[in-house]
Symmetry: C2
Subunit: 426 residues, 2 copies
C-alpha cells in the first residue's frame, strides 16, 4: 500500500470541522478512492488551548512554520477565509512545493491569477472547487468536462443567504428586514450580513467562474454589484403577476464587445430553471456553443456540503501526487478580454414609480423615457390612493446609461413622487 498522504488544515471553523469529520468518516476507503491513506498531520488554529470535542488535540498548532517547514506535509488545506494571513500562507506553501486546496473565494477572486502562476512555477496543484457554490461541482466541470465549449454565458444563484431571504419574501410575503432577521436567526446570515445582501459574496464567485469560463482573468474589482436591500414584497408580488420571479443573480457574459460581469436582482420567467431554485440552494446555469444549456444545483454552503467540495479537491490532488502529475491543470486564462463598463450593458428594466394620481402622468413619464431612447414594452397601473398612484413600467432592451439618464430626470419631476424600484429583467 502507498504511504499516507499528509495534509495540514488551516482553520477549524465550520468548513474545517466538516473536512475533519469527512476525512475520518472516509478514512478506511481512502486507499481505494485516492490511492493512499489521507491523514491530517497538523491543524493550524489561533488558540490551541480551546476545547474542541472530537478533535485530536495533538494535531493542533498555532505555528505556521511547523507546517510549512515539515517536508511530510504535501497538501495544505486553507479554510481560514479572508485575505491575510491566508494569502501569505498559500503563497509560502506553494513556494515550499506543497499543493494547496482552498475554499477562499475572497482570495481567489482577487489574487487567483498570481497564485495559479506561483503554483505552476512550483508544479503544484492549487484547487478551489469549494470557493464557488459549495458542494456543487462547477470549477472542475468548467475546466474539464466543458473544456471543448466556447462558454458564452453563466448565470447563477450563488449566495444562499439572499436566496433564502428572497424565498421567504416570495412564499411568505415577508418584507426584506423580517426575512433577514429570520435568516440570521437560522444561521443562514452572518452577524454582519453586508457581503451577502450587497452582492459582494456573489460577485467574488462570479469573478472566479467568469475567469475560468472565458479564459480571461476577471477579478472582484471588475464586477458590478447591487444587492437586494431595496427589493420590496410589492415588487415580488408584481413580478409574480407578470409571470416572473425575482432572484439575486450573478451574471457573466462573453460578448463581442467584452466580458460582462455583474450581480444584481433580476426578474426571470417563472419557467426558467433558476426560478424554482429556492431557500438556501444555489444553482449555476451555463450556456456553451456545443453543450447548449446546462444547470448545476445543490447546497451552496454549510459544514458538510462545503467539505464535500474540499474533499473532492484533496482526493484529486492525492491522485496527482501518486501519479507524479501535480500541477496537471493550472491557470486556464490564456486570453485577455476587456471587461465592459456597467454603463454599456444592455438589459430590460422593471421600474416602479409612485406618481401623482392624475391624467397626463403616464404621458409625461413615457415622454422622458422616449427622449432618452428607452421604449416601453408594458405598463401596469397599480393601486391609487388619494393623490398618489403606482405605475410599473417594463422597458424594452436598452443600454444602462440611458436608463440612468432617464431616471435622473424622472426623479426630479414634480409628477413623480418616488422612483420606488428599478430591477433588471431577463
Amino acid at each position: 500500500m502507498n504511504k499516507p498522504i499528509r495534509i495540514a488544515l488551516l482553520g477549524l471553523g465550520t468548513v474545517g470541522s466538516g473536512v475533519y469529520k469527512l476525512i475520518h468518516r472516509r478514512a478506511q476507503e481512502m486507499p481505494q478512492i485516492a490511492g493512499a491513506p489521507i491523514e491530517i498531520s497538523h491543524i493550524l488554529v489561533r488558540n490551541t488551548a480551546k476545547e474542541r470535542p472530537g478533535v485530536d488535540s495533538s494535531l493542533l498548532t498555532d505555528n505556521w512554520a511547523d507546517i510549512v517547514n515539515d517536508p511530510e506535509v504535501s497538501i495544505v488545506v486553507e479554510l481560514m477565509g479572508g485575505m491575510e494571513p491566508a494569502h501569505t500562507y498559500i503563497a509560502e506553501a506553494l513556494k515550499a512545493g506543497k499543493n494547496v486546496v482552498t475554499a477562499n473565494k475572497d482570495l481567489i477572486a482577487m489574487h487567483g491569477g498570481d497564485l495559479l502562476d506561483l503554483a505552476a512555477e512550483h508544479q503544484c496543484d492549487l484547487q478551489f472547487e469549494a470557493s464557488v457554490a459549495g458542494a456543487i461541482p462547477i470549477i472542475r466541470p468548467l475546466k474539464q468536462c466543458l473544456a471543448g465549449n466556447e462558454i458564452s454565458e453563466i448565470m447563477g444563484i450563488v449566495n444562499g443567504t439572499t436566496n433564502y431571504i428572497l424565498t421567504r419574501m416570495t412564499q411568505d410575503n415577508m418584507e426584506f428586514a423580517d426575512a433577514l432577521a429570520m435568516a440570521t436567526e437560522l444561521g443562514y446570515a452572518e452577524a454582519d450580513p453586508t457581503a451577502d445582501i450587497e452582492g459582494y459574496d456573489a460577485g467574488r464567485k462570479v469573478a472566479i467562474m467568469a475567469s475560468i469560463a472565458f479564459h480571461s482573468r476577471v477579478t472582484f474589482d471588475d464586477v458590478y454589484t447591487e444587492g437586494i436591500t431595496k427589493i420590496q414584497s410589492t415588487d415580488i408580488r408584481y413580478a409574480r403577476e407578470l409571470g416572473k420571479a425575482i432572484k439575486l443573480l450573478g451574471v457573466a457574459c462573453n460578448t463581442e464587445e467584452g466580458i460582462e460581469v455583474r450581480v444584481h436582482p433580476m426578474l426571470i420567467p417563472a419557467s426558467h430553471p433558476l426560478a424554482t431554485v429556492n431557500d438556501a440552494f444555489n444553482a449555476v446555469f451555463v450556456h456553451g456553443d456545443a453543450l447548449d444549456d446546462a444547470m448545476f444545483m445543490g447546497r451552496g454552503a454549510g459544514e458538510l456540503p462545503t467539505a464535500s467540495a474540499v474533499m473532492g479537491d484533496i482526493i484529486d490532488t492525492a491522485r496527482n501526487l501518486l501519479m507524479g502529475c501535480t500541477g496537471r491543470i493550472g491557470c486556464t486564462c490564456y486570453k485577455n478580454v476587456p471587461v465592459k463598463s456597467i454603463d454599456d450593458i444592455r438589459s430590460k428594466y422593471y421600474i416602479r414609480l409612485n406618481v401623482e394620481n392624475r391624467m397626463g402622468v403616464l404621458a409625461g413619464v413615457s415622454g422622458v423615457l422616449g427622449n432618452n431612447g428607452v421604449s416601453i414594452s408594458q405598463v401596469l397601473q397599480k393601486q391609487a390612493a388619494g393623490d398618489s398612484a403606482e405605475l410599473v413600467v417594463i422597458t424594452d432592451t436598452v443600454r444602462e446609461r440611458h436608463i440612468r439618464d432617464a431616471l435622473l430626470i424622472l426623479e426630479n419631476m414634480s409628477m413623480v413622487h418616488e422612483v420606488s424600484s428599478v430591477i433588471r429583467v431577463y
Copy 2:
C-alpha cells in the same frame, strides 16, 4: 510547442460529426486548452466512397488495422455504438497502449468493468462521460468532485425521447402513440424506438452511474426496466390532480440490503426539481452524505451536446498524455455489493382500476389489498359511466411482491373489469 496529439475517430454518424466539427472549431485554442494541438489522423467508416461534405476525405479508412497499428495514434475515440465491432476495437486499442474515449453506453453498461481492467493493465485512460446524459457532466463529478461522499441515491431523467413524449402527454394532453409519432417526426425517436420507450437505454445509463456512485459493478442485466408504453393521458391528469408529475426515472439506491437499480415511470411531487425538467432535457439528481442533494441538468443527446462531453474526455486524456499520467483514474469499483431483486424493493403505488359501478366494490378492493399487507393512503373515486367506475388507489409503502400478489387477485375478481395502470410513487 508540444507536438500534436493524434486521434482516430471510429464512426462518423451524428456524434462523430459533432466531434469532427468541434475539434476543428477549437483547433486554434487547443494548444492552450489541452497543452498541444489535437489532430484527427484517421476516421474509420464503413464506406469510404460515400460523399461527406465538409470532411477531409483523406482521413477516411475502412481498415481498423491502419489505426491500431499506427504508433502515432494516441487516442481512439469510439463513436460507432453497439457491441461489435466496438468491443473488439476498444480492447485492441487498449492492448496496443492507446487511450480510449467512448460514448458507447451499451458496451460500458455490459463490459465496462473488464475494459477498465484492461485499461489499467496498459496504464491507459478509458473515458466515457458521453455515455450517460449527453452533455451533462456526471461521470467525472461522481468520480472526482463527489468522491468524498457516500452516495446513497441517484435518480435521473436520462432518456430524452421518453421525457419528450411524457412532456407532450402532460402539456398537450396527447396519448402515448401520438406523442411518439411526434417524437419520431422531430427526430427525437429512432425508427425502432424500443430501447427508448421500454427503458433499456435509461437502464444502461443507470447501470453505469450506479457502478461509479456505489463503487460496485452493476451491469445492465441487473437493472429492472419498465417503459412508458402503458402510461395514458388519464394517468397524467390524475397525477396532476394529486400535485404530481409522471416521469420515466432511472433510480439507483444503495441500501443496507443491497443496491436497487431500476427504470420505471414514477409519480413525483410537482415541486421536486426533476418534475420541471421537460422536453428532451435530461437531469440527474444525486444524494450524498456530505453534499446533501444536488442536481445536474442539460441536453442528454444530440450532435454537439454529446460531442461536448466527448471533447471534455479527449482534452482530459490529452492533458494526462502530456503529464505522463494516463490511467490516472481507472475503475473505482472496489466493493462487491449485491443487487436486490425488484421483488424486494419497497415503494408506494398508484393503481388505477376500472371496476363495477356499485356499492361494496371499494370494500372488496381494500380487502384484497389489506389481506396482502398493502395499506391504502388515498382513494380517488373518478367518473362512473353505466356499470363501470374508475377508482384510483394510492398505497402506503409496500414491498413489490405484495403488490404483485394483490394485483393477481384483483385481476381475477369479477368486480374488477381492468387494472388499467400501476405506477410507482416517489
